[in-house]
């Protein structure tokens, strides 16, 4: 399958994300002739252990794990334990199994949703990060997918070139921040150079960690 990079908006120190930024980003995609195609939505859910005894040892089980639903694989579901670098691909019904086991409970869910754009051989998706049932913007993500290639390494140059053009176009708008690409170490998760949806899930988990770090940094400053 075609590879993609998942990027997140890194606000400048002292600033936060707002919907004006997402409007500007969207306009920027359209200004470089991105053709709007339709909506997309991914969801990340945090699962926390349900512990029977208070004295349960920390380290017996992870503090949490992530469940990820991706639009590119509507019948699949991904479970990620970041600390142990495990990504599991399963059918959507794994959510029902986790519910029946009553050992972990889904706590918070975040939706990543927005519009998809076609731009030559590239597909761009710009999305807001919103807690479910809330309009409280928590972040902005962007997916850059390059359709002709599925090898991460072979596509690296073309992806970097595209990102240069994109950052240049966006810089004209003097926004208080920039899109950041943090490439996870896929090999640690047992993933190879050929791109799969498990790579996407791992990238979302990395973006999630960045968003949390950003929020925590802001809270620490205040």
């Amino acid at each position: 399958m075609p590879l993609k990079w998942v990027l997140h908006w890194q606000p400048n120190a002292g600033t936060t994300v707002n919907s004006q930024i997402i409007n500007e980003v969207t306009q920027c995609v359209e200004s470089i002739n991105g053709v709007k195609e339709g909506r997309w939505k991914a969801t990340i859910t945090f699962y926390k252990p349900m512990i029977r005894a208070e004295q349960a040892l920390a380290g017996d089980f992870p503090r949490d794990f992530l469940g990820i639903a991706l639009p590119e694989q509507p019948n699949k579901y991904y479970l990620i334990i970041r600390l142990q670098r495990i990504v599991l691909e399963a059918d959507s019904s794994i959510q029902m199994i986790m519910e029946k086991l009553q050992s972990y409970k889904s706590r918070v869910s975040l939706n990543f949703e927005g519009f998809q754009y076609q731009l030559g051989d590239f597909q761009l998706r710009v999305g807001k990060v919103l807690p479910t049932h809330s309009e409280n913007l928590r972040g902005i993500v962007m997916e850059v997918e390059y359709l002709p290639i599925s090898s991460m390494e072979k596509a690296r140059q073309v992806m970097e070139d595209f990102m240069d053009i994109w950052q240049q176009a966006l810089s004209k708008r003097s926004l208080p921040g920039h899109f950041m690409h943090m490439e996870p170490n896929f090999a640690e998760y047992g993933l190879a150079d050929q791109y799969t949806s498990q790579h996407t899930a791992v990238q979302y988990a990395t973006v999630m960690a960045q968003l949390i770090a950003t929020v925590q940094a802001v809270q620490a400053r205040n």
């Binding site: 029977r52 089980f61 794994i94 009553q102 047992g190």
Partner: protein, 219 residues
């Protein structure tokens, strides 16, 4: 949900059962070789203790994994009266690191089994699966190549059919009526209620073997 009944048969009569099933189902048997790993939640994990099964299909060139959760059986006067167990069952295919994931989540190995035999999948009023297998235990962890039978000379027969809360009565009826055709060779009942081998098995098997095939049934 699924409907399920189980029974046992002596290995010497398995060939006759296969001939009968072949005649009844009209499909070819599939070879069965699955490694089943039963995991239980660690002592402090979860509201209640929980159990999950990881099933590795070893018949495929690249083994495939399935997570299976078997829930409680349907209860009540209605459930008591029927001869088939109706229970919740949820399955999900999973990537091959699923055992590592469940260990990381705090699940522990309870036991593991290797089932070797054959299965028939067919449509008969409903989608029915019949598996005939010898159940083996491993002398060393995950050593499926050195597995030994739990009950030598005896094989397990299981008839299952997927169901929903809307259609389970019809599925139960279809499973029950199918089981009657197997009655001369073995008796099928709810799991956990063992009825042993059937006294007529030897005679029925001899008759099937001499016929050289089961009767074709029109349904």
């Amino acid at each position: 949900m699924e409907c399920v009944v189980q029974g046992i048969i002596e290995t010497q009569h398995v060939e006759a059962l296969e001939i009968l099933l072949q005649g009844l189902c009209g499909v070819r048997r599939e070879r069965l070789r699955v490694h089943e790993i039963c995991l239980k939640s660690g002592p402090n994990l979860g509201v209640v203790a929980s159990e999950v099964r990881l099933i590795c299909n070893l018949e495929q060139t690249e083994p495939t994994w399935t997570v299976r959760h078997i829930g409680g059986a349907m209860r009540g006067a209605g459930a008591e009266q029927i001869s088939v167990l109706v229970r919740t069952m949820v399955e999900s295919k999973a990537s091959k690191n699923v055992l590592r994931l469940f260990y990381a989540l705090g699940y522990k190995l309870d036991h593991e089994l290797l089932r070797v035999g054959f299965a028939f999948h067919f449509q008969r009023g409903t989608q029915i699966t019949v598996t005939v297998s010898s159940v083996n235990k491993m002398l060393q962890l995950h050593a499926t190549d050195e597995a030994v039978p739990v009950t030598p000379g005896i094989q397990l027969v299981e008839v299952t059919a997927p169901a929903t809360s809307e259609n389970y009565t019809e599925v139960v009826a279809a499973v029950s009526s199918f089981c009657e055709y197997l009655a001369p060779l073995l008796h099928l009942s709810k799991p956990g209620i063992s009825t042993g081998v059937v006294p007529t098995a030897a005679a029925a098997a001899a008759s099937l073997m001499s016929d050289g095939g089961g009767e074709e049934l029109s349904s």
